[in-house]
């Protein structure tokens, strides 16, 4: 194996070359890791949850990590994706492959609406406004109980068979369900990677670094913020669709600000502004919650303490801190 990589550049240690290669093939690496996940975790249902929340947090990361907008109301898109999938299948009898795109499209429209109002503000106001608007969605869902089931949640849309390319797959089997949902996740991961690699991806990072300068360079910052808001909402809505198909119910709590808070915690734990951070954060959070719940009913204090610790000492999250330890890999996030 050649020790010099190119011209006069110094030899890169093996670890950094591995990291560089991982960064280059991030979609593939993600998919491989996810394919293995159900066999590594104590339960398949936990693995599916990691998948679902990973996708939701990934969408959120586009807004928070890459564009620097701390939204506290992302549960609105997660929940809307789930509810609309359930309503389309349960009430209108649509097959899942028609329900899901419909739900994603509608959630994107909602993201456009909420985005228009909230991007008029910045900084802390933005966070407060997104929180309050998402709570509004929660209360509307609670009131519209003939559509959403209200407090009881939405039921009656269980998908037990999935017809794929002529093959009928039993969706109730946990392993089958995982891999079918992984296909959704793959789509979301691929979309995320495309967005980040595109010129638009560079613009949103520019906005995070220095909004004034981005504006001075001629970019329509307001429009970019709105677009990223919509994309972020759409990807998180994919997570919502997955959740509806997985649980066969949509609980009202999916729209509550505490769910938004959980999403924020996961992205911080994993590492905002990193590609693998969302899934790592989701996995760590959910596994932690699962494990700690077995020892004590007071798991919230452990999770809260860990989160505070991260905010204080490891603000880049697990993956971000890991990358920081490898200087050359830092640029190739």
């Amino acid at each position: 194996m050649a020790m010099q990589s190119s011209g006069a550049a110094p030899a890169l240690p093996q670890a950094q070359r591995v990291m560089a290669a991982i960064a280059d093939h991030r979609v593939l690496v993600s998919l491989v890791a996810l394919a293995l996940l159900p066999w590594l975790l104590p339960s398949k249902a936990l693995a599916v949850n990691v998948l679902i929340y990973g996708v939701v947090v990934m969408g959120y990361n586009l807004l928070f990590g890459y564009t620097g907008l701390l939204s506290f109301g992302h549960a609105a898109f997660f929940g809307t994706g789930a509810y609309l999938t359930g309503i389309a299948i349960g009430r209108f009898g649509l097959p899942w492959f028609a329900a899901v795109p419909l739900a994603i499209a509608a959630s994107t429209v909602l993201a456009a609406a909420i985005g228009t109002i909230s991007t008029r503000t910045r900084g802390i106001y933005f966070s407060m406004v997104t929180l309050a608007l998402a709570q509004l969605v929660y209360y509307v869902a609670l009131q519209a109980s003939s559509w959403t089931g209200g407090e009881n949640g939405l039921r009656g849309f269980t998908v037990d068979h999935v017809n794929l390319l002529g093959l009928q797959i039993n969706f109730l089997d946990p392993v089958n369900k995982y891999y079918v949902l992984m296909a959704f996740a793959a789509l979301a991961i691929w979309a995320q990677s495309r967005i980040l690699n595109s010129p638009f991806g560079a613009v949103i990072e520019a906005i995070r670094e220095n909004e004034q300068r981005a504006r001075a360079c001629g970019y329509d910052v307001e429009r970019c913020k709105l677009i990223v808001f919509m994309l972020s909402g759409a990807i998180s809505a994919i997570g919502g669709c997955m959740s509806a198909l997985h649980l066969s119910i949509v609980p009202l709590d999916i729209l509550h600000y505490q769910t938004s808070g959980m999403i924020v915690m996961m992205v911080l734990l994993g590492g905002a502004r990193s590609f693998f951070g969302p899934f790592i954060g989701a996995a760590v959070f959910l596994i932690l919650e699962d494990v700690v719940s077995i020892w004590t009913p007071h798991w919230q204090i452990v999770v809260g303490a860990i989160f505070v610790g991260f905010v204080l000492f490891l603000p880049k999250g697990i993956w971000g801190t890991l990358l920081d330890l490898l200087p050359a890999a830092r640029e190739r996030r």
Binding site: A21, K44, L46, Q143, E151, L172, D173, I249
Partner: protein, 415 residues
């Protein structure tokens, strides 16, 4: 667990690809998971160990464990021991669905008992019925009786609002009385209102006003002026848990008790403890169980004695009793079926006549609702309490009868 196989950069390891593919093909056509060929009988028990009803959840666990212990002490079921798998559903429907999936898929339970809130019970039900697993719900709500959510594997051991409101109305309303309603604006609240109004109509009392309040509201002061201006004889408060405690407390603050009698569909042991005797004094409500029943009912006395023996002299609460009768009735049916074969146990439950806590009970065929007695209790004033546990006086105990329930056809069932 297979050892962690790290893939080289850019490649899926062949071993895991084969593993995944073969697993997928092997399980493709199976609609139902086989139960592990293991001797122990496992019962899943999701309950809200964290959250506002943690105390009720703990009571339920203690009583459920008592029911299991009594069966195991007598040799188990067909020689097999019973094990209770308690899980925290955090009073969250999504969490409950996940826990139930784990119980069925990973722990391979033979049946599930539990749930406190209506949303949780419906979530658990959705998971169990799709997979043909028996579920005995102990959550007090009407919805699970209806055809839409029904399945032949689901049984409802708890009371529902229809039964409790009717019993309470019979004891407190008279012909010609004026009744006002304060109702929580969500499914459960509406169920209670519906029950009250039906019973009212039969008695001949009139509704002078209905005020809906947002579910989870902490402040009721904005509803008080209008309630007082209606000048009713009786105020029916149709909400639950903390909402009920807050509503009653604030109503008392506004002096409402001087003008009218306060009545609730379900009067809760722990809420009474949370708010104190002075606020609750004179409030009348329904209940499935109260330990004071031991003076009137032999089964209650036996249940209390067994609970005291296992729990250092403590008395079982209303919610606790559900844990006991839910698990207990299931175990009795399994005993009759000689094991855990689903269809036999279902038949066993449908045919079951049981008396575990307060008197004879059985499951009605069309909707699997447990027909049982309903207690009507009145909260005692402080000076009338003999000891710290002497919270209520038993006003009445309506014996169970099919007529207490909504008719099968009304619920959408064939029978």
């Amino acid at each position: 667990m297979p050892s962690y196989n790290r893939p080289g950069p850019g490649g899926i390891s062949r071993r895991n690809a084969l593993l995944g593919a073969s697993a997928g093909i092997a399980t493709l056509a199976m609609p139902r998971l086989g139960r592990a060929a293991d001797d122990t009988i496992r019962i899943g028990f999701p309950t809200p160990l964290t959250g506002p009803f943690a105390a009720e959840a703990r009571d339920q666990v203690k009583c459920a464990e008592l029911a299991v212990k009594l069966v195991n002490d007598k040799g188990g079921i067909a020689g097999r021991k019973v094990e209770l798998l308690v899980r925290d559903d955090k009073l969250n429907a999504g969490e409950a669905a996940t826990r139930t999936l784990e119980l069925i898929e990973k722990d391979k339970v033979h049946a599930v008992v539990g749930a406190l809130s209506s949303a949780v019970q419906l979530a658990v039900n959705e998971v169990t019925r799709a997979r043909g697993v028996i579920y005995v719900s102990i959550s007090q709500s009407d919805t699970i009786n209806e055809a839409k959510d029904f399945s032949k594997f689901t049984f409802h051991e708890a009371l529902n609002p229809h039964m409790t409101t009717a019993a309470v109305a019979r004891q407190t309303l008279k012909k010609g009385m004026k009744v006002a309603h304060l109702v929580a604006d969500y499914a459960y609240g509406h169920e209670m209102l519906r029950g009250f109004k039906r019973a009212q109509a039969a008695i001949g009392a009139d509704t002078v006003g209905e005020i809906l309040h947002p579910f989870g509201a902490a402040d009721y002061s904005t509803f008080m002026p209008r309630l007082m201006s209606l000048r009713p004889d009786v105020l029916c408060i149709s909400n639950f848990g903390r909402d009920q405690a807050n509503a009653i407390k604030q109503a008392v603050d506004f002096g409402i008790k001087q003008q009218m009698k306060i009545v609730v569909p379900v009067i809760l042991h722990n809420q009474r403890l949370a708010v104190g005797p002075d606020v609750f004094e004179g409030v009348v409500g329904g209940a499935n169980y109260y330990w004071g029943l031991e003076t009137q009912n032999k089964t209650a006395a036996e249940f209390n004695a067994a609970f005291r023996a296992a729990n250092g002299g403590a008395i079982p609460t209303d919610y606790g009793a559900y844990g006991y009768s839910g698990v207990g009735s299931l175990l009795m049916a399994m005993q009759a079926a000689g094991g855990t074969e689903t269809d036999k146990v279902v038949a066993g439950l449908e045919a079951l006549q049981y008396d575990l806590t307060k008197g004879p009970q059985h499951y009605r065929k069309c909707d699997h609702q447990s027909v049982q007695s309903v207690l009507v209790l009145e909260s005692k004033k402080k000076s009338a309490m003999a000891n710290d546990s002497d919270l209520f006086a038993i006003v009445a105990s309506d014996p169970g009868a099919d007529e207490m329930l909504r008719s099968c056809s009304e619920l959408g069932h064939a029978t």
